[in-house]
Symmetry: D2
């Protein structure tokens, strides 16, 4: 197995550290013939990019995507597509102070316990910078799904800290604000909440939802490659994720069976508590997934921690950080949905084509 | 890849249908030298078994576990361990009526769309009967983890329908009641709630939690084999699961960073919102996972559905069913935790041994 | 990964020891809708079975194949197909004497070094008995390949010890003799050679070839799932295999490029030195593979060896053994060819369907 | 699965085309703490490089290896190691003429049949240029094996066309000549043979052997991850490979069991016909593998072929080509041996550590 790869027939491997020379990915198994350009991929990556607003980290990456292989005369060839983005705005000196410290809530301590060595600059491999490559790979999957099946994937911010943001869904406004908030009326509230957070030096969590439409019935590989299980792993593998729901999710706990079961008529299902997946296989309904992201742990408010020698130290994180990592999670969640779906479309062709 | 297998270095494959001659599993990668008997495995399987109380399905399986390979003179040899349980109490005629119908909330429709054929008897492969083999395989993993690392795994019912059951945890009473309820004072309430459900013909969901203690720091394979991502997939692959949380889970959404981040002192962590996992790697704290199970969809209360020809039909499920599938989920959740942890202990030895 | 499994989209796992209660396999990924019976599978297994003639081991197994799952009303359902054969003629007492000895040329010593424990009865897991399940799984693949693509697979004995047997190929006689010898005129010579071997107590090697016809062009997954690389692994994984060739094989070493390269005309290729595979992908020509099998190491002629305590001992193997293991290799080689091809047909559908 | 990756716990993925901007690889699973520099890796890559002598292709690549990730302050960190080499001397215009032609003996036709599109420049992905990344990855594995286990790997040219070159092994001269010929007395003969080949415009095959010393007993994952099976796949996956032998290889066919079986004494094995592997597991003896390479198919001597429209054409390959691809295969064969062994050392730690 490959620790830094995922997928079955469509397989993505990523590499790179936050402050290394570059980050990159290899997409293996993409069918030949898809037209794709570096610029299209970059456009997706920029949606996730930091520096998009004053509410996210001020690191400014150009996100120049290079296609190193697998595309010939503008079309995929079936060979591995390697993508590379050079890191151009890493400020490693910000991290000198925490070089020998374990920031609570971060992977510093656990990487140290696992490997006995760590690239402390910006979190190294554990940095969310890695997710830029998920978005890059996802751009390829998204385009393929749209062209072949008209599958559409849309994520949105459903909650930021205490603020529920998706009661009034206005789909076409999601990309108009830096929060991916679907309700424009809520944006000023989000902005002032974020400003107060930044002032206080604290942070908060978020809930990000994603929907996939026009997914054909029959995708998913029971028993241990169930579509919902793979989506759960995909979302939970994103930095800061702490929970995943499909369809009714935790609301199912207190639901009655007569409510939860989605009745079927000749006109289709009468509800979608299942979130589009039954028995691990897509039903043709919209696939709906919700992911919880914890608040950023990098704060300038001091806290108690340890250093590599086991001494207690006061930890203050400087660097440039997002007061809410969930704000930038929407494109990542969309990318993971796209990659899992495309993998399962290919798998389904294999076994039942 | 194998649709019916999971794990990396420790790999479990299951097979069998609810009403076929037998169900079984193959455990590949178990280190040599572990003492294990069929009786020990059976004891775990019986914890999950139906017919344990009046609150679960009345199907009565003997659950006679046969060890077909991989154990010699009472000890594992390093070769694949095949386990088999014959199905002895399948009543296939109960399913004649729904032979050509898709029961809402079940995998009937999706298997049909995927495969164009289905074993309709008791749900066939999609039946929760399959989970007996997870518990069987889990019994091996549990014993190994306990012997080698003193790792202890304990699951419990945290909520059943509207009833929260784990406010007063009395750990040693969990196995004393058919609900795996940790608070004996709540058991009568659960019983009367279940009786009323059975009377009404309806069903409800449940939340099942699990904790693993004494897990060494350093387990987990970033980025795409993160311990939490693999646990999420493992739990979400269980029948009827709709949501998974690690540590604070969805509560993280509204938490502040100063609250969520678990400060560290020389005496250890001061809290465990992380649920024992940071950056996808175990921290040495208890690992805590919570899973939501939807209500049973098989009800004798009629509902609207379709048959294989697309006609609308009224669906009434007879057969023998659990009014709350979550009641029996505790041993399954424990088994999945054990299997994922053992796999990652072995992986960690490979890369950092 | 799974040590006892192979294949990508079609994945076979085997289990069982020579003298355990049963051997079995799980075939995962077979498309739904294939008609298959236990009797058809058994017919293939019997082709490999010992006791077929006086030239092979006198162990007599009934080879009663049971289908435990994955087949419903005579057709595959897409769920894992589990096959089981009980061992009925194991004579474990034959092995008491070598219980603490390492038979040279066998896996006794290496299993001991790897696992520190071994099932010494008949070689345990390392016995060629395991190959019966490859043949069983192969029977399913063969039927599928024939029905869907008219692919035909035929193996034969090409050489037995010093006797070259395939200079005069008479295809339809291969199954008429216990050697799978394609030239009936050579059978008496083989019989008398085997008789003399048995008298002397010695053994010899063999070369077994296999051809697959009507294989569509385009199968194979470059770079590390090349069709020839996977066939090489498949054949080399068979007990006693020491060499594998594709097409011209080792003859290529001294060939000139003008001879080796297979020129193409509108009527097709003018030769087939490539053995049907170019760049790891099938060309549409016949796929031709040759495998070398070493002589049986279990001999009644004594030799020098060690016991588990490191003492030198004289080793004499009693038991029931084949003086030439290659005699029974033909159905195994055919099965491995079928399984690899079917896997790649499915893979090709996934990526280019 | 990943088409362009291999290995289990140590997993290498390569990407890149012969005339694309760069080739690269990702090494996933390398334990932390190994000191490694780009210069060390480059030194290995240069051993394989073309332009080393007048007997190989005149393409001159600088082979500047960049380490993009996974190494921090000179040591591996346990995260994926990405290596990149820019292509600087590709002359794509040489291939304009064969743009629409299928060169016999090449992958042109099969890639076309598989993908319906191909990068015709220098063979694209099917070019042996890809093997530079195997050598780069192998450099890491080699160093690790040597430091941790004192494992030494040495390949050599055993035969070139009709000339057998390893009857008088002088181990320390192998790297002194451009052929990796172990017998300096044979080098003039090889030179004049190559000169005559070049003059005639023809090409020839080669046999390359490799030995690994100090390999601990116990490596290999029976049944379907046998060490010999994995080595067979690894070698057969190299461009132009047509056959693989372990130990006595095809000589086993005519050997007697009393000759082949390697007797054991307190002082060790008395022979090594097994090539260091019994039952798929290393025995502690030297591991010996031999690989056959076919003659180069790119010749300036015209031959019959087809174009993409199915028309018969006369094919003449210009470009810059090796008259014997086997000459440069020695470092590749060594690299594949190193990568397979390191993977199995890690696997063995997982299961039996």
């Amino acid at each position: 197995m490959s620790y830094n790869s995922f997928g079955h027939v469509l397989r993505v491997s990523t590499f790179g550290e936050s402050h290394g020379p570059a980050i990159g990915c290899v997409i293996d198994g993409c069918p030949p013939g898809l037209e794709i350009t570096a610029e299209e991929i970059r456009a997706e990556v920029l949606r996730r990019a930091s520096g998009k607003s004053r509410h996210t980290s001020q690191r400014r990456e150009k996100e120049d995507v290079q296609i190193l292989s697998g595309v010939f005369e503008g079309r995929t060839t079936g060979t591995p597509i390697a993508l590379l983005i050079e890191n151009t705005d890493a400020r490693s000196k910000d991290y000198e102070e925490i070089k020998r410290q374990f920031r609570p809530g971060h992977a510093d301590y656990t990487y140290w316990k696992k490997y006995g060595i760590r690239d402390y600059r910006g979190g190294g491999r554990s940095s969310a910078r890695e997710t830029a490559m998920r978005v890059a790979a996802g751009a390829v999957a998204r385009k393929w799904l749209k062209e072949k099946f008209a599958i559409e994937i849309q994520g949105w911010l459903a909650q930021l800290g205490p603020i529920r943001t998706d009661r009034d869904m206005q789909w076409d406004t999601i990309d108009d604000n830096p929060f991916f908030c679907p309700d424009p009326a809520r944006v000023p509230e989000l902005e002032s909440y974020m400003d107060s957070l930044r002032k206080s030096g604290d942070s908060t969590g978020a809930r990000v939802n994603v929907i996939a439409r026009n997914v054909p019935a029959g995708l998913g590989a029971p028993i241990y490659g169930k579509l919902d299980a793979e989506l759960a792993a995909a979302m939970m593998s994103i930095n800061a994720a702490k929970g995943v729901e499909v369809g009714a999710g935790f609301e199912s706990v207190a639901q009655m069976g007569t409510v939860h079961r989605d009745e079927m008529t000749a006109g289709g299902f009468l509800s979608n508590h299942a979130g589009g997946i039954l028995g691990g296989i897509s039903s043709g309904q919209d696939i709906v997934v919700s992911t919880a992201f914890k608040p950023t742990s990098s704060l300038r408010i001091p806290c108690r921690g340890l250093d590599v020698d086991g001494n207690e130290v006061e930890i203050v994180t400087k660097g440039r950080h997002d007061p809410c990592v969930g704000i930038r999670a929407t494109p990542i969640v969309e990318a993971m949905m796209a990659l899992v779906l495309m993998d399962h479309v290919l798998l389904q062709r294999a076994q039942n084509g």
